[in-house]
């Protein structure tokens, strides 16, 4: 029964995700200790409110950012957050400075921008990137024009609308937290309820549609949730930098896991970390704008994840590549030498150095060094020449390749065991002797 092995594997995969979570919690504790001991920060009620607000907003944008990233709409997030500005300004002009009113205005502004982009895309030949650029610049200009107008209104200057440009964590007060948390919980519940639909539509909209899901409706719902996340996050990161807050936690999380649910949870954790810490840092000193600080923290997490994440990270893949190069350099070079020589007269024809270096300079150098020390090639006569043992080795390798090809063609017919193909490896190591014999006889039958 396959079920039991699957369960075991799933469990081991789950463990990997705990690693970044533990790291993040540790980092958070270290920050807490350091900030108190070294910088003498006192966690007063106000600072705690700010930290909590930052963390909650971070969770929401991190979680929904996953969908923006997976739908390849990262830059759409950028356009939509810029587009919130005129909505904020108009809401202020028409209805005053209540936070919920401003947020509703922002939401409407972004939502109209979203519709505008799809209208431009569906009725003109302008491509998505330009359409988003148009919306971004046009809406932002409208916002700036309205803001400069608002500054001419008496006692509007303390309205704090410019907080929406670069974010201002210190402006978060207790009553805001209530609002943010309520909206946030509603968003997360909606996400949980429609999780299955969101996943399916993000992965394969065509199949979803064929299965009777209303893809257009689900897409709109998801986009609306992303807009809500953007709008909430504006107080923290500001319209210009909001896109970073939206996608950086998701991109960082993506490196650690291969499961959507884990990615979403992890992005929430990363978002909370960057939002909370960024907010606290900037609350110390009015000279430090909140948005930029959060972005720098979030980007640090991205760099950390991209380099170090097990399996996918850059360090790991560089290491693996190095191993592969070492393992296969000799074999690849030998094969290239042999093919060239056969094509130009015979197995022992000298092969010009330029030819090999043209294929893969570093690999060829490494391969030639290995082959030479093993006595398979010599340099002479204006090129590299295979020795007798070199020719034998090359022919053996070629034979191996042919067997792999036959395996591919006849595996089913001969009822051979299923293997992951790896043509660099010796097929004899992977298949039982009787299977090899069957393939060999096929090969003879073909050649005669």
């Amino acid at each position: 029964m396959p079920g039991s092995t699957v369960k075991a594997k799933l469990r081991s995969d789950d463990h990997r995700v705990w690693l970044p979570v533990i790291i993040i919690v540790l980092l958070g504790l270290i920050f807490l200790a350091l900030s108190q001991a070294v910088f003498g920060v006192r966690y007063t009620f106000t600072v705690r409110v700010v930290a909590l607000g930052g963390a909650v907003l971070g969770v929401i944008s991190g979680v929904l950012g996953c969908f923006a990233v997976l739908r390849r709409e990262s830059l759409m997030g950028d356009a939509l957050s810029h587009a919130a500005l005129p909505g904020v300004a108009l809401a202020f002009l028409l209805a005053g400075r209540d936070l919920s009113v401003l947020l509703i205005g922002a939401g409407i502004g972004s939502w109209i921008a979203l519709r505008f982009v799809s209208a431009v895309l569906s009725t003109t030949r302008i491509k998505q990137d330009a359409a988003m650029g148009i919306v971004l610049a046009g809406w932002f200009a409208a916002g700036i024009a309205l803001l400069t107008y608002i500054q001419s209104i008496p006692d509007a200057s303390q309205a704090g609308l410019d907080h929406f440009i670069f974010g201002q964590a210190a402006a978060i007060v207790e009553s805001d937290i209530e609002l943010i948390s309520i909206v946030g919980v509603v968003v997360l519940i909606a996400l949980a309820l429609f999780w299955k639909e969101f996943k399916l539509v993000t992965f394969d909209p065509e199949f979803a549609s064929a299965n009777g899901f209303r893809v257009g409706f689900i897409n709109t719902m998801l986009s609306t949730l992303v807009v809500v996340a953007i709008v909430l996050g504006l107080q923290l990161a500001g319209v210009i930098l909001m896109v970073g807050m939206l996608i950086a936690p998701a991109i960082a999380a993506r490196q650690w896991t291969r499961r959507l649910n884990q990615m979403v949870i992890l992005a929430g954790v990363f978002g909370a970390f960057s939002g909370g810490i960024g907010a606290v840092i900037s609350a110390f000193d009015s000279d430090i704008p909140t948005g930029p600080t959060i972005i720098v923290v979030a980007f640090a997490l991205v760099v950390f994840s991209i380099t170090l994440a097990p399996g996918r990270g850059l360090l790991w893949s560089a290491w693996r590549q190095r191993l592969d190069r070492r393992r296969f350099a000799a074999l690849n070079t030998l094969r290239d030498l042999y093919r060239y020589a056969i094509a130009h007269g015979g197995a022992r024809t000298p092969v010009p150095d330029d030819f090999l270096r043209g294929i893969d300079d570093r690999g060829a150098a490494l391969g030639l060094r290995q082959l030479k020390s093993a006595g398979r090639v010599e340099f002479g006569d204006g090129g590299w020449q295979l020795t007798q043992s070199g020719v034998e080795l090359a022919e053996g390798a070629l034979h191996n390749l042919r067997l792999w090809e036959l395996y591919r063609l006849y595996a089913d017919e001969l009822a051979l065991p299923m293997l992951q193909e790896d043509r660099q490896r010796d097929i004899r190591e992977r298949l039982p002797a009787d299977a090899i014999a069957a393939l060999e006889s096929r090969l003879e039958g073909r050649q005669s």
Partner: protein
């Protein structure tokens, strides 16, 4: 830079008098409009190629980074090399442009790592670089003479005041030394602070300080009252020079490399095969975009500038199919936006419509009390105007506009419906199922159409003489038959082109 300015003024003085020129340039409107037009022209020319290459948002990335380049270059100049900081200094422009190109390369690397998609790579890179720049700006605000407002919208309205003075007659510079009669001298205690004593105490030592010594340029000397004869001066806004150089560079680049740019834009593979260097053209374009973004920074800030790159080419793209025409139209659209945008900032739309009146109307109808005087950011208004032109092009374009597309669709749909019905009749009229398939009163059921729609189509076809009714069945007339054969031939010909993918 100065020499170029001088040459330009010499040229202008052939046509205008000095007084006229000064009066013209001292008007904020004239200066702002000229700068706006120059940015619009260079932006639109380069932006057209960006648009066609699907790289419009690269200008966004570049403009964001350019801010970081400017701030870092500025800090380096003032703090490390002890030079005087000036955002129109060539060193700063070059440094910041390199930073712009650097970002493009960096995002490319991030993308090539295979871990992050291109949109995500861009979306990560530019907020980060912008964030760092903003942190630096707010930490070193006094040193960089920048504030967040200038970053966002620029200072195009004040560009007329930031000038270089050029002297044409009575050009005496004055050097004031402590011996000069006009020198203002003061005694200052040199060791008071060190010893913690007051200047009146014993042991205080004094040095003489000259409050106004130094070299006075003719302009400064005259305003300080040091000269008898008024020097003949021309005050030339620095931003005009910078944006003019950018404009000329862009025009030259596009004119000289027109062929190469065109080919690498439409078929990079072919261009490479023909021995052109698509990569080189690409980097050339990026360098110029960076230069223009840096040059425009003082005037319009680092975000609104992308509007000048993206929107005019997009509008022109809706108006024409020809690259050459697009390169002509998009600068015109951008420049028109700059011209009318200035008026919009002062509350006038095309000089015929008053924003104040609209605000009064809103106040009245919603019971609000908003100030009727509309006075807002010039650069943002220019962008809004360009955006308005885009909207106009989108709705009204004779070929791709919403209106003409709608009319054409309607026409095509009719022709298409005709063809569907004709083909259906053709396919069934000689088969035994014709009694089922071709009855006039049930024909609409086969298509799942409303009976009304089918009746309209049939009426149209009868008027055209393509079908006739026989015993409650429709059938093709001879003309109808010929018609079907004709469009089938056309249709199948277009579908049967060998497709070798």
């Amino acid at each position: 830079m100065i020499l170029l300015e001088r040459a330009l003024i010499d040229l202008l003085l052939n046509v205008f008098t000095r007084e006229e020129l000064n009066a013209f340039l001292r008007s904020p409107q004239n200066t702002a409009t000229i700068i706006g037009c120059l940015i619009a022209i260079s932006g639109a020319l380069l932006g057209s190629f960006l648009l066609l290459r699907g790289m419009s948002l690269t200008s966004d990335a570049i403009s964001h980074t350019v801010l970081l380049g400017i701030v870092v270059a500025f800090l380096l100049m003032t703090e490390v090399f002890g030079m005087e900081g000036d955002t129109s200094s060539p060193w700063l422009i070059i440094g910041a442009s390199l930073a712009g190109v650097g970002t493009v390369v960096l995002t490319e690397l991030l993308f090539r790592s295979g871990l992050v998609r291109q949109d995500a790579a861009l979306g990560l890179a530019f907020p980060l670089l912008f964030a760092i720049a903003i942190i630096l700006v707010s930490r070193f605000a006094e040193d960089v003479h920048l504030d967040e407002d200038a970053v966002l919208v620029g200072e195009i309205g004040l560009a007329w005041a930031n000038t270089n003075s050029h002297c044409y007659q009575h050009c005496d510079s004055v050097t004031i030394t402590p011996e000069h009669p006009a020198a203002t001298l003061a005694r200052q205690c040199s060791n008071c602070r060190e010893l913690g004593i007051s200047p009146r105490d014993d042991g205080a030592e004094f040095v003489e300080i000259c409050g106004n010594c130094g070299v006075y340029s003719p302009a400064r000397a005259w305003s300080a009252g040091l000269l008898q004869n008024q020097p003949h001066l021309v005050f030339f806004p620095k931003s005009i020079t910078v944006t003019l150089v950018m404009g000329l560079l862009s025009v030259c680049f596009v004119v000289i490399f027109y062929k190469e740019l065109k080919l690498t834009t439409f078929d990079a593979g072919l261009a490479k095969a023909l021995g052109f260097r698509p990569g080189l053209m690409n980097y050339g374009l990026m360098i110029l975009v960076s230069l223009v973004a840096v040059g425009a920074f003082d005037a319009v800030g680092s975000i609104l500038v992308i509007a000048f790159f993206i929107i005019p080419p997009a509008a022109a793209y809706l108006l024409t199919d020809r690259l050459s025409l697009m390169l002509l139209l998009s600068p015109i659209i951008g420049a028109a936006g700059a011209v009318f945008g200035y008026d919009l900032a002062r509350g006038q739309l095309f000089g015929i419509w008053d924003v104040g009146a609209a605000i009064a109307f809103i106040n009245q109808s919603l019971g609000l009390d908003l100030p009727a005087r509309w006075d807002s950011s010039i650069s943002a208004s220019m962008v809004l105007m360009i955006f308005l032109f885009f909207l106009l092009a989108w709705v009204l374009s004779p070929r791709y506009g919403l209106i003409s597309t709608f009319v054409r669709r309607l026409h095509q749909n009719r022709r298409f419906q005709n063809q569907v019905v004709l083909a259906h009749i053709h396919n069934h009229q000689d088969t035994e199922r014709r009694e089922v398939e071709l009855r006039v009163d049930t024909l609409h059921l086969h298509f799942r159409w409303q009976p009304e729609k089918m009746r309209r189509v049939l009426a149209r076809l009868r008027v055209m003489g393509l079908v006739r009714m026989v015993d409650q069945l429709v059938e093709l007339t001879e003309r109808g038959d010929a018609h079907v054969h004709e469009f089938r031939k056309v249709m199948l010909a277009t579908h049967n082109v060998p497709d070798l993918d």
